[in-house]
């Protein structure tokens, strides 16, 4: 009885013209599922055009040689040479992606250039640290916002304001904060011994500044996503737990956390992808020379004055590959969580 009847085959729309009537008839006789896929085709096409085609084109470009002169920006096919050059530091880029050598003594690897001057390490450290702290702080904010109290609405607004500030404005804020004639930041941080004398000129100090700026901005984003997960927890579960004598920590561990975990993982996934592509906050605060990220190197190769498109494409595709690895990791965890994390 429950057959998929998609209405009467030939409807009163017989005014559609002779050429198309056959197509329309076929379309109306499709099942619900098939019709849904048909309507999704323009969306998939757009996605392919905007997302997949550039990705594949970048891959193609990364296999071609750089051309710094002449009208054609790319030379002949060179295979994996660009990738090898990028990983061994043999490019015209200002900073290196990675510069380690193996030694026989512990810890068995030696850094050629300082840790915070290697783009791969800067990007990975930034992604891991920023997601970790943002999740922690965001979770805390979400737990607070989950309670009922007067003025909750205003607290929500106050928390979301950093997220609403444009990246360049925020970068300017932190830049001025650490200029000696304008802001108090460098004196204060020097007094407590954390920074040196010119934080915006030092790679390590500027990394910390950029990290703090990003955490300040994006904890709100994490807080809101986690809050959505928290609000879906059935309150009666807590009542049952209280009656059973569970401590607050046990309530969190056995009720809140497992139910929130899917939303939490989605939020962390989004943030990791964004953090791996960090560029705007770096450029408007300390500059790409002081804190090199992978995207910084790509921009450098494309618009840095010396035209090295092949190298830039190789770095870009490497970044995409690393992001892909992170996503795979998260999706595998997600699949486990769906099956019941208790």
């Amino acid at each position: 009885m429950a057959t998929d009847q998609s209405g009467t085959p030939v409807e009163a729309g017989g005014d559609s013209g002779g050429i198309f009537s056959g197509v329309f008839t076929w379309m109306e006789n499709l099942s619900e599922a098939a019709y849904a896929y048909l309507l999704l085709i323009p969306g998939f096409f757009l996605l392919a055009l905007v997302a997949f085609y550039p990705l594949l084109d970048t891959l193609r470009m990364s296999f071609l040689a750089d051309e710094t002169r002449g009208a054609d920006p790319l030379g002949g096919f060179v295979g994996l040479e660009n990738y090898i050059n990028v990983l061994t530091g043999n490019t015209r880029l200002g900073r290196q992606v990675i510069d380690v050598a193996l030694t026989s003594n512990f810890p068995f690897v030696e850094l050629g250039t300082p840790f915070f001057r290697q783009a791969l390490f800067v990007t990975l450290a930034f992604a891991l640290l920023s997601v970790f702290f943002e999740t922690l702080i965001g979770f805390g904010q979400a737990l607070v916002l989950d309670q009922e109290f007067r003025g909750r609405r205003w607290v929500r607004v106050a928390i979301i304001i950093p997220w609403a500030i444009p990246i360049v404005i925020q970068g300017m804020l932190f830049f001025l904060l650490f200029q000696p004639t304008v802001g108090f930041g460098s004196d204060f941080m020097q007094a407590i011994g954390v920074f040196g004398s010119d934080p915006l000129a030092s790679s390590r100090d500027s990394f910390i500044i950029v990290l703090v700026a990003d955490i300040w901005k994006t904890s709100a984003f994490m807080a809101l996503l986690i809050l959505a997960g928290l609000q879906s927890v059935d309150r009666s579960l807590y009542d049952v737990a209280k009656v059973s004598g569970a401590t607050p920590w046990q309530r969190f561990k056995y009720i809140t956390f497992p139910i929130v975990l899917p939303a939490l993982l989605v939020a962390m996934l989004f943030r990791t992808m964004d953090a791996m592509r960090v560029y705007g906050i770096i450029e408007s605060t300390a500059g790409c020379s002081t804190v090199p990220s992978m995207t910084c190197l790509v921009i450098d190769g494309l618009f840095g004055g010396t035209r090295i498109y092949g190298t830039a494409a190789a770095v870009a595709f490497l970044t995409a590959g690393i992001i892909g690895i992170f996503i795979t990791f998260y999706i595998i965890k997600f699949r486990d969580a769906e099956g019941g994390f208790m």
């Binding site: 009885m1 429950a2 057959t3 998929d4 009847q5 998609s6 209405g7 409807e11 729309g13 559609s16 329309f24 379309m27 109306e28 619900e32 019709y35 309507l39 323009p42 710094t68 002169r69 002449g70 009208a71 920006p73 015209r92 880029l93 200002g94 900073r95 300082p114 650490f178 200029q179 000696p180 004639t181 004398s197 010119d198 915006l200 000129a201 030092s202 500059g287 020379s289 002081t290 921009i299 450098d300 494309l302 618009f303 840095g304 004055g305 010396t306 035209r307 090295i308």
Partner: protein
């Protein structure tokens, strides 16, 4: 049961699939076509320049008309980021994309040649009229024209709007109060040594310690300006060079020596260290501490701020800042200028025409977008820019020197405003200009230069270590 509900719901709404697809398709096509129907340019010639030029837009356009530009050619000047690196980036992406607007670009003489070599600009050899062409050849400053030509063929690709040379600015009133005589000692035209300069500034600073924070402000951030200009001129004033002297500035890539680890270059770095810190063992002896360590975070505007606000005694910057600082409501006549000090006299320099007071050759050219929709009009505007009236208007209102040095001979304060008081210093700077070694790979080499020099300034490496590393990386990169 669920299917029946679905059926009932669907027949209630009554939109058939056919109708839906028709409606969606029609909307989509309409929206798509609306995007395609963009208008052409309205015929205005758009010049992309900076905020300084835009503030003088009316005067410049009036001068263009006086120089013979047709009244029906509309001109508009738009502002891009003031910092040279950002302008280069945005023009690079615009030209890569084949954009038709803006029609004319104001390009830094330090990175015009890479655009020429990538065949992204219009060849002006046959585009400009012959009398304009010969005027440029015969009367314009030769060093400036060289940076607008193809290094191999010598074809002209840009019209120099102005050459630019930095000068040392100082608070004349404070210096005179401390007992010095800048006017009778001819400071405006006779360069002094860096050692003497640091002693004078330290002396004046000690008399004004309560009101004034900084003795000397300059630019030492890790950016293009450090490699092309600030460090280039300091190094040249000690007799040092990147690639073994002036004849190797524009090539041949791969066939020229790299000379950055020589003694004069290291001396220049040691002097800057001494200016910033008095306790660094790598710092040179004999120089006083006159600059704050924060100069390693400063570009042009960051360094100018304190000086214009009256919080510094001396300042190294391009002439645009002389116009700002010399204005009546800023320092007025309390501003003095002098040529940049020298490290060693010219006679002691190993390379020809180096040593002595050196000023980095900056300057900007006007180039023509090959994808422009208003080609003929843009060429007209370009030719009008070679008129005397336009050069003097730019000099008066923006502070940028004319590319024909002789024009400044009879000009005084009445003709061009406050900057007219400082023309003699500017003439000295013009004679001592040193260009940067611009080639298609210079932008990436410049990055290596400013990163290593900046590391030496911030004490991440010793000067010798930094220059040895730079020697290695420049030798690696100097391949065609």
């Amino acid at each position: 049961m669920v299917d029946t509900d679905l059926q009932r719901r669907r027949s209630k709404t009554g939109v058939s699939r056919r109708r839906f697809v028709q409606a969606a398709g029609a909307t989509g096509i309409a929206v798509g076509l609306a995007g395609c129907a963009g208008g052409d340019g309205d015929g205005t010639v758009v010049i992309s320049a900076d905020e300084e030029m835009v503030s003088a837009e009316d005067e410049i356009i009036a001068a263009l008309r006086e120089a013979g530009l047709d009244n029906d050619v509309e001109v508009e000047i738009e502002a891009e980021d003031f910092e040279t690196d950002s302008r280069r980036q945005s023009y690079s992406s615009g030209l890569d994309a084949g954009r038709s607007s803006p029609d004319l670009f104001m390009m830094d003489s330090g990175w015009t040649i890479p655009f020429i070599v990538r065949e992204q600009l219009t060849n002006l050899e046959d585009t400009l009229s012959s009398d304009v062409r010969s005027r440029i050849d015969n009367e314009y400053l030769e060093a400036a024209v060289e940076t607008a030509q193809d290094p191999e063929t010598g074809d002209l690709y840009g019209v120099p709007i102005f050459p630019d040379y930095p000068v040392m600015q100082y608070r004349k009133d404070l210096v005179e109060d401390a007992g010095y005589n800048p006017d009778s000692d001819d400071w405006a035209t006779e360069p002094i040594s860096w050692m003497e300069f640091s002693e004078i500034i330290a002396d004046v600073h000690s008399e004004n310690e309560d009101d004034i924070d900084y003795g000397f402000t300059t630019q030492a951030a890790a950016y293009e300006g450090l490699a092309c200009c600030t460090f280039n001129e300091t190094m040249s004033s000690f007799g040092g060079a990147f690639f073994g002297g002036r004849e190797n500035l524009f090539g041949p890539i791969g066939d020229r020596p790299v000379t950055v680890n020589e003694e004069p270059v290291i001396d220049a770095i040691r002097m800057m260290l001494a200016f910033m810190r008095d306790d660094d063992e790598e710092a040179a002896d004999g120089y006083e501490q006159i600059a704050p360590t924060s100069i390693v975070q400063w570009t042009e505007e960051d360094a100018r701020g304190p000086f214009t606000a009256g919080n510094a005694i001396s300042h190294r910057n391009w002439p645009y800042s002389v116009v700002i600082n010399g204005a009546e409501d800023e320092m007025g006549e309390d501003l003095g200028t002098m040529p940049l000090p020298y490290g060693v006299p010219e006679s002691e320099s190993e390379y020809d025409d180096l040593g002595g007071s050196r000023a980095a050759l900056g300057g900007w050219h006007l180039t023509l977008n090959p994808n422009s929709d208003n080609f003929e009009d843009a060429v007209q505007v370009l030719e009008a820019f070679t008129g005397d009236e336009v050069m003097l208007a730019i000099f008066e209102h923006v502070g940028n020197l004319p590319p024909i040095p002789e024009l400044m001979d009879d000009v005084g304060e009445d003709d061009v405003g406050p900057i007219g008081r400082y023309i003699d210093t500017l003439q000295v700077a013009a004679d001592s200009a040193i260009a940067r070694p611009v080639t298609d790979i210079w932008p990436s080499q410049a990055q290596q230069v400013y990163q290593e020099v900046h590391d030496a300034y911030t004490q991440e490496k010793t000067p010798t270590e930094a220059m040895d590393d730079l020697q290695e990386s420049l030798e690696d990169s100097d391949q065609p």
